[in-house]
């Protein structure tokens, strides 16, 4: 057993040390050298996000289905081959430890935890983890990982879903959910996910 664990850790470390392909230099400038994200400006972490999700977002940026001037320009510059290289690289990276440490009050932490794992009947909001997986670890073909994601990024996205600035999901699910959350809910749930350490396996 010990041998197996050691092998896993070593192989993980070797992935982390793999030299990034040259195509990701543009990404690194904003998303960090290892795709861990950058707190300043709320640039999301890409490392360990599913290939399917990353690929869809890049395509949506390119087509305008997801509206972002900077990412739109960059995504349009990627051909199929380059995009798949970039996507494969970030999907293969180990999930980093959280960049942000929770500064939430106890009440906020409790509310965030509640919204994430249980939802809120009073607002008719279901648990985020229903779709985003145990501990927000993501579900490969349908919903991105939230654990360890930057709170500033998550909050900005929830606002976009709320206000109609982002619509590139299936069935308008995220706008339905986000429209029922108030600012305090958003602060609570985003700081909860930002503080989750997704670099270790789900705790339950």
């Amino acid at each position: 057993m010990k041998y197996v664990l050691a092998t896993l850790i070593l192989s993980g470390a070797s992935v982390a040390r793999a030299a990034p392909p040259p195509e990701v230099a543009t990404c690194q400038a904003c998303h960090g050298v290892h795709g861990e994200g950058v707190v300043d400006g709320g640039k999301p972490r890409l490392a360990g996000q599913s290939a399917h999700y990353l690929d869809k977002q890049l395509r949506d940026f390119a087509s305008g289905a997801r509206d972002n001037a900077i990412m739109g320009a960059i995504a349009k510059g990627l051909n199929d081959q380059t995009r798949s290289k970039v996507v494969a690289f970030y999907a293969s990276l180990p999930v980093p430890v959280p960049l942000e440490h929770a500064s939430a009050t106890a009440a906020q932490a409790e509310r965030g935890h509640q919204l994430a794992i249980e939802g809120a009947e009073g607002k008719r909001v279901q648990a985020c983890n229903n779709c985003h997986g145990p501990d927000g670890s993501g579900v490969a073909l349908s919903a991105p990982a939230l654990a360890g994601q930057l709170a500033t990024y998550l909050a900005a996205q929830l606002k976009l879903w709320q206000q109609g600035g982002r619509k590139n999901d299936a069935g308008n699910l995220m706008s339905s959910v986000a429209s029922k959350l108030d600012d305090a809910d958003i602060a609570a749930v985003t700081s909860y996910y930002a503080g989750l350490n997704a670099s270790t396996p789900a705790s339950h």
């Binding site: 809120a120 648990a127 069935g171 706008s175």
Partner: protein, 610 residues
């Protein structure tokens, strides 16, 4: 409920022996609703909003989307699918069953054939969301069958009869129910105009569905192409797992279904399946005219000495106390078979006697005649059966109801045929071709080979009523409170087995036209068994109609014998049609709500002279 409470309830089984005094009498209310499921919550909301004091008595627990229905707990297939966690507790309250009256009924200790639910929201919490209307013909089946095929057409022991209400009368109520639920579908007949893409056989509807159809599954696409090539008329199954966000007329918002494949036997975690929890309970519970009491096992409806007027109900609560709730109006809204039992336990209406054919309560018990067709493909055809909702099928009505000529066929009725793949859950879903070993390596290999390459058709057949099929109180077995169980005596009428044979052959033709490598039709065969899941569409037993000698309730579902008792459920159906019964029950519920508000409550008494 824990064992301690159970013991305290047992003490009340024999009050005279235990020396327990009479039930405590509570303050009288306007209306008691027995069972707070789909019917109970809709009616209670209508009456509370109209200003009446309503008490809802629910034997199960309260439960809501949050927290009770949330993931990952709600996707526990062993707990919900195999062990039936959401169903009526049959260690305390089973049903006995036999095929023929010459046999001795035995308690069903494990639900398999049908799955009556319990708890707030009732059986609808665990439904699949398949939301149909019956056709105009169904409501006048006896008359129209005689007119079209002549007098001697039907087997002599069939007891088909008209409903006493017509499709046109129910249409506005169907409409209201579909808009309450947000049902996703495509109209096929708008005010007499046939609409491309919808069901051309449906009876006219006044407007389209509130939301467009759900996305079509790959198996549905294969079915659509094949059925069209044979000249049939495929259309998207109407679904109350919604295709887009929807706000219903009660102001409640629902979400888009995510095709998780855990509908029937489960509750929805996403506010995407229409259930009382999503479409009405928050509004009902906010009304101070309504009081919900859970954990209340109603023992009987109480009658005065004339036996022509109900005075209220007696129930036992979770603490084991016997309580009497007086009320001016009693509405029993239980699951179909429990409605029958409530009347029998209360002495309302004359029990049916299969020997003489006289009596009405328990008469015309019917079911649904389910057949299947499995189409096995090679491994290059990928079905992904796990991406499903409970109602995201593609189907035809060309062989349902009276949509085809029955001359010379020797049966009445039919079935919808559809690629209705409601799930691909790992424990229960593993189609394999005939000849596959039932265990071991051979079975496992076949499951792996076929799981993702098989299309299953559902052939949802009608069920005629016949003299020998009925329900009564069991002479031997009692529930945890000492009350006799309901006993069901049922076998498939020959009419329905002939229908299943004919319609399954049509399904096999479609499977072959899809290009499947092997197509296996399994028409329903007798004898009926309670040990294999078929469907939870038990109907009849408290039948509606215009003749008190062949019906328990009048066309407004009001008891002929005790006019301040209304009995609402699929138990009112004189026979069952080719479609899932829920849509029609929703329409009947609003039909009754209208009659109560506009006529009965203003001037209580018989709405139809007996």
């Amino acid at each position: 409920m824990d064992r301690g409470t159970y013991t305290s309830i047992r003490k009340f089984r024999h009050p005279s022996v235990e020396g327990v005094t009479v039930a405590q009498r509570l303050k009288e209310v306007d209306v008691v609703v027995i069972g707070v499921g789909m019917v109970g919550s809709i009616l209670a909301k209508e009456l509370a909003a109209a200003g009446y004091k309503v008490v809802g008595l629910e034997r199960g627990t309260t439960r809501f989307t949050v927290p009770e229905f949330q993931s990952p707990g709600i996707h526990d297939e062993l707990r919900f699918d195999v062990r039936k966690a959401l169903m009526q507790d049959n260690t305390r309250e089973p049903v006995t069953f036999r095929n023929h009256s010459s046999e001795t009924g035995l308690p069903i200790r494990r639900w398999e054939s049908f799955l009556p639910g319990t708890g707030l929201g009732g059986s609808m919490v665990h439904w699949n969301g398949q939301t149909f209307r019956f056709q105009a013909n169904d409501f006048e089946l006896a008359t129209r069958t005689r007119e079209r095929y002549g007098k001697g057409f039907l087997d002599p022991d069939l007891t088909l009869q008209d409903w006493g209400v017509t499709y046109d009368e129910l249409e506005p109520h169907y409409d209201r129910f579909e808009y309450l639920l947000g049902t996703s579908g495509k109209a096929g007949n708008l005010k007499g105009q046939i609409q491309p893409g919808g069901d051309p056989h449906e009876s006219p509807r006044s407007r389209d569905y509130p939301t467009p159809p759900q996305k079509e599954h790959y198996s549905g696409a294969l079915f659509r192409k094949a059925a069209s090539s044979l000249g049939h008329h495929p259309f998207p199954q109407p679904s109350s797992n919604l295709s887009q966000p929807y706000t219903n007329p009660e102001g409640l918002k629902m979400n888009t279904c995510v095709f998780c494949g855990f509908c029937e036997r489960y509750a929805c975690e996403h506010y995407a399946k229409s259930t009382p929890q999503t479409f009405i309970l928050p509004v009902l519970l906010a009304n101070s005219n309504f009081e919900l009491r859970t954990g209340c096992q109603v023992q009987r409806i109480n009658l005065d000495s004339s036996k022509k007027r109900a005075t209220g109900v007696t129930y036992i609560d979770n603490a084991g106390r016997e309580l009497e709730q007086p009320a001016s109006l009693v509405i029993t809204c239980l699951f179909a078979i429990n409605n029958i039992r409530m009347l029998l336990l209360s002495g309302i209406g004359k029990p049916y006697d299969p020997v003489t054919g006289k009596g009405v309560v328990g008469r015309n018990y019917a079911y649904q005649t389910m057949s299947t067709v499995a189409s096995f493909f090679d491994e290059d055809v990928i079905i992904n059966p796990f991406m499903a909702s409970g109602a995201s099928g593609t189907m035809i009505n060309d062989f349902a109801g009276d949509n085809f000529d029955h001359s010379g066929l020797g049966f009445v009725g039919g079935a919808f045929i559809g690629a209705v793949n409601t799930n691909g859950r790992p424990i229960q879903y593993h189609p394999t071709p005939p000849g596959t070993p039932t265990w071991g390596k051979g079975w496992k290999d076949a499951v792996v080979k076929h799981y993702n390459h098989t299309v299953m058709f559902s052939l949802h057949g009608s069920s005629v009523s016949q003299r020998q099929n009925y329900a009564d109180l069991d002479p031997t077995y009692k529930d945890a409170w000492g009350q006799p169980l309901l006993r069901i005596t049922f076998d498939f009428p020959k009419n329905d087995l002939r229908m299943a044979e004919y319609v399954t052959a049509r399904g096999v033709e479609i499977g072959k036209a899809m290009g499947a490598k092997q197509v296996v039709g399994s028409p329903r065969k007798g004898p009926y068994t309670t040990q294999q899941y078929q469907t939870t569409h038990n109907t009849g037993g408290t039948v509606m109609g215009n003749d008190p000698s062949t019906s328990v309730v009048n066309r407004y579902l009001q008891s002929w014998d005790v006019p301040n008792v209304f009995v609402i459920g699929a138990s009112a159906y004189p026979q069952n049609a080719s479609w899932n019964p829920t849509g029609t029950l929703g329409a009947l519920t609003y039909w009754v709500a209208d009659a109560l508000k506009s006529r009965y409550l203003k001037n209580p008494g018989h709405l139809v002279s007996p």
